[in-house]
Amino acid sequence: MRLIRSMFAVVLFAAVAFAAPPLFNGSTESKWSVVSGGKPAGTITLLTSANAARAEWKNTPKSPAAVYLGANGKIWLRVTGGDVELATISATTPENMSVVALLLPFDATDRQLTLTAGKVATYSYRGGKATYRYDAKGPSSIDVTFGGHAYTLTRTSLGSSNADASNFAVRPKKGAASRLAVLSGSLLGPSDASVSAGAAGRGAGEKGLKLKDGGDYDAVLKLENRDANWRAKLDDALVLFQQEGKVGKERENQ
């Protein structure tokens, strides 16, 4: 009985505590197609180095890439103005869940894995699960399931890579509200004269309006200029904010 308990403890230890071994050793570049229900969902380009990895997700060949970095024991998502920890974003989007299956050595959230012959067989994370199949070169396909969704990642190419270290450099955002520091344009600084009067778009009226009626029009202008400066960044910030909180338009897209 004691032996069985010990064996169980060893198995449990292996399932929970082992750090995931890398899927590829050294500097490699692999490309992956992602399919769900027989339809293409996206592609991933995975770059690996000795101690870091970079994955780029594209919905379609022409769409912009979402860049994920694996480094320092964490997975990072690149957003405007810096990198944010993926662990701080609760959204289980296809790209988030698929990319984590490839960057698993760097995922530090609630991970549980099983190994077969020293290779990762299954990997559970964020309420999802990845199941790996291998060929002589390494992992050849991965089934990813989460929340009733099923995606299959299939490796379409694998070669060596000459990507330099800058591809893997993480630039974390700083501060308490770091994930949205992109919007930290100050209300307290001087008004930005470079923002044109027409920048406000439709229904703009006369930006910079000043009457001598006791109102604080300088404060109004600062507020309008802040929002004009934010306009381009606000959409990015709202995506993160709404994904994290599962609210707004991004909630509908999840």
Binding site: A200, G205, E206, L209, D213, A237, V247
Partner: protein, 279 residues
Amino acid sequence: MRMLINVTLAIALLAAPAQAQFGNILDKINANKDKIVKGAKVAKEANREFTEDEEANIGRVVAARVLATYPLLKDDDLQTYVTLVGNTVAAYSSRPTLEWHFAVIDTPIVNAFSTPGGFVFVTSGTLKDVHSEAELAALLGHEIAHVTQKHILREIKRGNVISAGADLAQSATNGSALTDEFGRKVGQIAYDKLFNTGLGRADENEADRIGVQLADAAGYRAAAFVDFLETLHRLEGSSELKQLTKTHPSPSDRIATVKPLVKSDRGVLLAERYEKWMN
């Protein structure tokens, strides 16, 4: 027969001065035709819908008055947070493409204000009495509703500050009616409505109703607004709540209005995220 003759005679006697009197009225109308036409134009002008450009300028005048009363809070993180929540909710309003501006103003009083054109202000005192992002979302939804339903704009219109042919879309230097005097009048109407007398009960009820609908549509737990109103109920009588009490229906009345509209278990509360941003 005699009676018929008498009646006919009486009508004849009365008709002569009536005809003279009617003729006098016509004369007077003719003599004052220009004034009457001008008056009708003024009345028509006063009732016309403002263009979006005009609304934006009126909004600036009112916002300038609010910001002359309470300055912007010097906390960029909080300003960012309120902007993100506000834009998340405003996207579900009937005017999602309006140039919305959300900001926190620095005062311990508990209140929030909105102006035509999409300026929405919440006081730092209010944020201390809010306990979740869902409460904040519904509160901002209430202010967004005042804008979309043009409640303050209608009060300004009622103030007859717009003269015939007035163009509020450009500055006074371009010959517009957007003058300092206009600003003073509009500012005073808005100041009275926002800080002293408040809008009508129907407007406030409508804003409460739409506010929770918007929060719900955005995925927030709209029922949290009832929690906020209960907090206000507990604060009744405090100096921080004096202005809000003056300008809004009582919290208990508002609870009675809102409670039947919301489902207690629907949507996210995000109390922890709210606390993180507040600290």
